[in-house]
């Protein structure tokens, strides 16, 4: 079976589309069930909240720049870190990754839409509603001791601080309901992704030929099923505690605070992998294209992703090393956490091997991907340090931990997201992003990132705990905090540059054409942006890189697939 991709007529749709009233346009977006439009709405909505939560981070950094600062009150600060964490995880991370998945998966597997388009729209709108519900608490509810007007119990909302006796207003209720609703949306989209990947692949696309991006989204969606359940259950139990008088977490009446921690982290740690797996997925598509080589060790990459998925379900209590689990529990979760570094290490080595012997093109997208690789390496290594329970007795809940997880979330995931934007923006908009602005964005962001998050490890080592709105002058933490905060400002400037680049390029960027990167997966066979039906005729594929086969008929990938998983030919390393 040979690869067949019927050619669509190529044209810039925006030029030919008739002018419509803005109301019609709006109506079109609100009622759409097209996976691409929903994907774009997910991304736009996430970017909106990214700006808000980023601004919250900036306010916190201003407050912490000098000791005993009075820029914001402790009540406001507690609200800021709670909202920053909750927003970034649930209303930036999840929707932006689901947005890319929504947009790309049907295109990459040669389908015309997701398996359940209406469920898709429902999931998006309920998640969007949850985000606005959370922020409505700034108007609607008071928090701890009736003090502030937003959730201020921390993003992991440890019991019993969430009990009504400590948090009498409604802000905790807004937090609970927002997470509950966004969880419903996440389950809906995850279900849709699984069904789409299992059932809608084009002819010839066996699971062994599935591009790695959908493969990893499959694992990520499976994790979502497992992880969201306990979170939703815990939120319902918390509501029962608060309003019906049950005592699951109500320690004043014999409930258990540790129970909440277990519930939260059995969701919370897989959640980290739900967020980071899509970053791996983007890297698996982008690094090969800009190295001009096939991904090294495809079966191992799939196996490592599935492995990470399974192991990540058994590491949650490494967030609880200081809770007093006893030596047995601490030992088990140390081991489980260390083991997860093995499949993660395999991925890093395979990416390096993909680069090895390639012809690396330093586009803005690739530069962000390399930044990801480097920073994720460091984040992984501090992760190994933190997997050692006695290390956490000292550094858990300190700024060392804050630095570590921002290394993962910003240095890893956000860098890879920027990379994905530079890579797929041409497909989504039909225009290229400015490479020159992109490189400015990259270098500024790298400088700001390292200034902030490298140095953030230090006050942690010097004994600075997280979640404090201010600190004493005699502890010697000030110089570090000044530098950290100045790095945050550089990152803000870089991000504004990126937003400007997106807007400017939408109107003025060079026309992209269907395949600006000379790439190999099916989405690049469609026009940019793709028509609503994606493919005029469903393609047929014969290998993992259908466009490679078409471009290199003398040496198609499909020739090497006779023996699954085996190296196609003997070769010398480094030759």
């Amino acid at each position: 079976m040979a690869t067949q991709i019927p050619v669509n007529e190529l044209h810039d749709q925006r030029v030919h589309a008739p002018r419509r009233l803005w109301l019609e346009v709006l109506h079109g977006w609100v009622t759409t069930v097209d996976h691409k439009k929903i994907g774009l709405m997910y991304i736009g909505y996430a970017l909106f909240f990214l700006v808000i939560a980023g601004f919250e981070a900036l306010l916190m950094r201003v407050q912490l720049a000098i000791p005993n600062n009075h820029f914001v009150s402790p009540e406001v600060f507690n609200g800021l870190f709670t909202m920053h964490g909750t927003t970034m995880v649930f209303f930036v991370g999840m929707p932006i990754l689901f947005g890319f998945g929504n947009y790309l998966i049907p295109l990459m597997i040669g389908a015309r839409d997701m398996a359940f388009p209406r469920l898709n729209a429902f999931s998006f709108w309920i998640s969007a509603f949850a985000g606005f519900l959370l922020y409505f608490s700034y108007i609607g509810g008071s928090g701890l001791y009736g003090a502030s007007s937003a959730p201020d119990v921390g993003w992991f909302a440890y019991a019993p601080l969430t009990a009504r006796v400590f948090s009498p207003g409604h802000s905790t209720d807004y937090w609970t309901l927002a997470l509950l609703l966004s969880g419903i949306g996440s389950i809906g989209t995850a279900l849709n992704i699984v069904a789409t990947i299992i059932c809608m692949r084009c002819p010839g696309m066996k699971m062994s030929r599935l591009p790695l991006l959908p493969w990893i989204y499959l694992v990520m969606s499976g994790l979502t099923f497992v992880a969201i359940g306990p979170l939703t259950a815990a939120q319902i139990m918390l509501m029962l505690d608060r309003y019906v008088g049950s005592h699951f977490f109500d320690t004043q009446a014999g409930g258990s605070a540790v129970l909440w921690m277990h519930f939260f982290w059995i969701f919370g740690h897989p959640e980290v992998y739900i967020l980071v797996l899509p970053a791996f997925a983007f890297a698996n598509e982008i690094i090969p294209v800009f190295s001009r080589k096939a991904i090294f060790g495809y079966p191992a990459m799939v196996a490592a992703s599935v492995g990470i998925g399974f192991i990540s379900l058994s590491v949650w209590a490494h967030h609880m090393f200081t809770v007093g689990l006893g030596p047995g529990g601490n030992t088990f979760f140390t081991l489980a956490t260390m083991i997860i570094s093995v499949p993660t290490g395999i991925k890093i080595f395979n990416w390096l091997a993909t680069l090895w012997g390639g012809k690396i093109q330093f586009t803005a997208s690739m530069m962000f991907a390399i930044g990801f690789l480097f920073q994720f390496l460091i984040a992984g290594l501090t992760g190994i340090m933190l997997s050692v329970a006695p290390f956490d007795w000292q550094l858990g809940s300190s700024y060392f931990v804050v630095a570590h997880f921002h290394y993962v979330l910003v240095g890893g995931i956000l860098f890879m997201l920027f990379s994905a934007f530079y890579y797929w923006y041409p497909k989504m908009s039909g225009r290229m992003l400015s490479e020159r602005l992109g490189k400015w964005h990259f270098w500024l962001f790298v400088i700001g990132f390292h200034l902030t998050f490298d140095l953030m490890h230090v006050p942690g080592l010097l004994g600075m705990p997280r979640r404090i709105y201010t600190y004493e002058a005699d502890r010697g933490w000030m110089i570090w905090n000044v530098l950290i905060s100045s790095g945050a400002i550089i990152q803000t400037v870089a991000t504004l540059l990126f937003v400007y680049n997106m807007v400017w390029s939408y109107f003025k960027g060079p026309i992209a054409g269907p395949d600006p990167w000379d790439a190999w997966t099916l989405e690049w066979s469609t026009p940019s942006p793709p028509p609503s039906y994606n493919f005029a005729e469903i393609p047929t594929v014969a290998s993992r890189r259908p466009l490679w086969d078409l471009k290199h008929p003398e040496d198609p990938d499909s020739d090497y697939e006779i023996e699954q998983g085996a190296p196609p030919e003997p070769k010398e390393e480094g030759a």
Binding site: A257, V388, W393
Partner: protein, 297 residues
């Protein structure tokens, strides 16, 4: 140290490979415009096996080393002469009880210095009166959480005389940031003197009888204890020997009469979110109460 050196070594090796690859294999203009694709390599079972097995061996080694530390710390042999202190976390201060000696104090923990020849560790039994807290004095030991309805144990063993600073490390509410810890490691003789002094009832100086009356006729007594008086509240810190402490407001300001006066007037001046309400005393009464509390050495 073992962990640090292993991770540093891994970092240097992998980052070195990354740098080498980026320089060696970057696309050069002489290559032409991507006319010629590089050789396509799909994988290699031997190489992939090697970078699976080696990390597994490193993990096993790290794990065994870690397990030994966990067990030696958590199952340490407890000497018979060890001192017991019960630590109770409150929003936003620390209560310390010495059950062997009948001493109750707040925010400033005194323990004896221990040395290798004569170990004299202090065992802390920890719980919380309200929300989760965490006891963290970085130079003495790791942290341990204080969780309501749960009793945790840890031990400290200071080898040097002096003051050790720390603070609450688990978000516990509005004023989590100023829930500071001061641990004084005294010589055994100093410690014995301190204990003896703490066991005495409160000083009753007739010169400050007016301030004493103000204290005893206001809401102060429903939250604070001053042993030997009608003040038997348990919600706030024990003030029997508050005049002898170096700081007030759980370590956030020095214990001077002006600071004390300002704190009583409105605790939010130093600690916004503190649960003690502003006392609404007039200037005269404030002076009197401050004078009284200052005498409680």
């Amino acid at each position: 140290m073992l962990v640090l050196s292993i991770t540093a070594a891994i970092f240097l090796i992998v980052a070195g490979i990354l740098a080498y690859v980026l320089v060696r294999y970057r696309a050069r203009p002489s290559d032409g415009q991507g006319e010629q694709e590089p050789p396509q390599i799909y994988g290699s079972n031997q190489i992939e096996l090697s970078w699976t097995v080696i990390p597994i061996l490193i993990v096993v080694m790290l794990f065994l080393a870690t397990t030994r530390v966990i067990y030696t710390t958590e199952h340490a042999q407890r000497p018979a002469n060890a001192l017991d202190v019960t630590v109770v976390g409150h929003q936003f201060w620390w209560e310390y009880r010495y059950p062997q000696m009948g001493v109750v104090t707040a925010n400033e923990l005194h323990v004896p210095v221990s040395d290798h020849a004569h170990p004299l560790p202090t065992y802390l039994t920890m719980s919380s009166a309200d929300t989760d807290h965490s006891f963290w004095v970085p130079r003495l030991a790791g942290k341990m959480d204080l969780i309501p309805n749960k009793v945790n144990m840890m031990w400290i063993d200071p080898q040097m005389k002096g003051l050790y600073l720390g603070q609450c490390a688990q978000y516990c509410g509005v004023q989590h940031a100023k829930m500071l810890i001061r641990v004084y490691a005294d010589t055994p003789e100093e410690f014995a003197t301190w204990v003896e002094h703490q066991r005495q009832p409160a000083v009753d100086d007739p010169a400050v009888a007016e301030g004493r009356d103000v204290f005893m006729h206001n809401a102060c007594i429903s939250c604070h204890t001053i042993r030997g008086t009608v003040a038997t509240g348990r919600f706030g810190p024990d003030l029997t020997h508050v005049g002898g402490r170096e700081t007030i407001a759980s370590g956030s300001v020095p214990n001077t009469p002006p600071n004390l006066r300002e704190f009583i007037d409105n605790p939010a001046n130093f600690k916004p979110g503190a649960l003690m309400p502003p006392m609404h005393l007039d200037s005269h009464d404030l002076d009197a109460v401050t004078a009284y509390l200052t005498t409680l050495k």
